[in-house]
Subunit: 337 residues, 2 copies
Amino acid sequence: MNIKDIARLSGVGISTVSRVLNNTGFVSDATRTKVMEVVKKYNYIPNSSARNLKMTQSNTIALMVKGISNPFFSNMIKEVERQVNLRGCPLLIQHVEDGSDEINAALQLVKEKNLYGVIFMGGTYDHSEEKFRQLNIPFVLTTITTTQEVDPTVFSSVIIDDVQEAYKATSYLISLGHTKISFLARFPLVQHTTGNRRLLGYIKALEEHGIPYDPSLVEDCEYSPSSGFTATKRLMNKNKDMTAVFAASDTIAIGAAKAILSSGLSIPGDISVIGFDGIEMAEYYHPSLDTISQPGVDMAKASVEILFDLITGQSTNKHVVFDSVLVKRGSCKKIGK
Amino acid sequence: MNIKDIARLSGVGISTVSRVLNNTGFVSDATRTKVMEVVKKYNYIPNSSARNLKMTQSNTIALMVKGISNPFFSNMIKEVERQVNLRGCPLLIQHVEDGSDEINAALQLVKEKNLYGVIFMGGTYDHSEEKFRQLNIPFVLTTITTTQEVDPTVFSSVIIDDVQEAYKATSYLISLGHTKISFLARFPLVQHTTGNRRLLGYIKALEEHGIPYDPSLVEDCEYSPSSGFTATKRLMNKNKDMTAVFAASDTIAIGAAKAILSSGLSIPGDISVIGFDGIEMAEYYHPSLDTISQPGVDMAKASVEILFDLITGQSTNKHVVFDSVLVKRGSCKKIGK
DNA sequence: TTGTAGGCGTTATCAG
DNA sequence: CTGATAACGCCTACAA
């Protein structure tokens, strides 16, 4: 079934069918209905490969997600899809492995599918400016830290200020009287990862309040409950006097909480816990966990908006920094009270 | 940059470049290296639209996921991707809205992209045999219930026996002496959904043990902690003497647990809780929640295997039923003990 | 308002 | 071993 068949079957020319299908140019109502009938009857669907080939540009947007299992991304992905579809474009969700080079994957996709634009979600980009330039189509980095100093005019981004927000969380714990505060995050070797940024905020808060930074209170761990659990167990063995845990993600916080609770200690009675992200699970944990809640859906929406502004040429590269909010649910309490 | 340019730049014919790129036919080593050099130098990537157009069949596999936010799918998706890539095929992950008709979406994709095969994950398929036949390429239904009685030779599936597994969970609670057991699941209007199937198992267990089925103990709720929470609150108001909750997903179970714990009751002291699926979060909840654990990764792997067997014609449609295991972590206890 | 023809970048057939 | 050349299905001037 191709456009030629439809043309023959409905007794019109090929281009007329094309015009009907694309709502372009003028077609008489009679012809239009006639063609549509045949299209319906034979369940005809145009071949997008041929279309893309001809059009030198598909209207597809790609979303490159690093870590599809991250529950914080779930709602964001949904929102990106909603927003992209709202603009009449199909969305190609490409999940990239944690270790793999997503920008190369995207580079390939772009060339292959003639993408309209790309949104990168999650991960860290230790890519040179040149790589970015190679991409050569509009793209937005969402929730992403760039490792190298890159000319901000070559890319757009939607982020939060990790240093500042981690500072906020740590300061909160300090204001409650905590001084033995542990910090859990992922610290890969590359610099300027999310984990490293948040560590900076953690350290900054400690320093500003005259609390010496103790590396033995910091543990490297994956963004998962199981990893948070074992890391916290290690911490508790090393630091018998630790009174608070600041986890760089809610998933870690949940693992940390489990480690604490299953040791017979209480939250926040013995140890206060605060997470990061604002996923539903943290709210429904018992006790409900305090967290630094990121406006994920708003960030997703903004990402799509920026991307389409870039596509339509309505604006140049932009960098939007969203504020997160400290959500207090009672898993942190004043020390000694 | 197209194949023509590469041909010109390396001083050979177009088809030679094509042969080099596809490792097809015989090419002298000298020409091969010469061409590859140019390809590398200009970072040439073939246009897949043109390729697909010509090839009448791309090697792309599509994964249609209903409910990407379902944490139970996370690992399955990863495994599907791994397995598909292992076989040298790209995977297109298409997330479909909860309400939308995924088989039509797939139908479109198949026609558009000349897919090799499709895996459907999650949701309920109330589609006629005819729809299935229209698809016309190999496909596997994973974790999916078909509503209508469909000729089993027209599709493949990888599932668990929902009735049996729900029966298992309920029987377990009954064996612990519970009789006032509530059940939480999603009950859409269509028949034979996952929720309805598990309800059947629940009822079957009750009946076999001579416990009258009490509809007021059954609540309709979404597969999320928040929905599980509110549904459980409703249940607790209606049924003061309920002693156990069987939730059709771990996400619901977590919400249910929160409702119970935040009311000042204890688990399993006052109320026993058991979930379904076997997600990490249920294990790290406090208390750790019992569950019917599905072998998600194995199911994902089997799905891909079956799909490729179909594609290579090595076998005909198959239906594999996996066993789930009852994982006891202490959130259920003998009544009155 | 409608039809014809050329070309998008590949692959595959078929002579050299 | 290599190079023309004809499709693949569609869009879009351009001509009617």
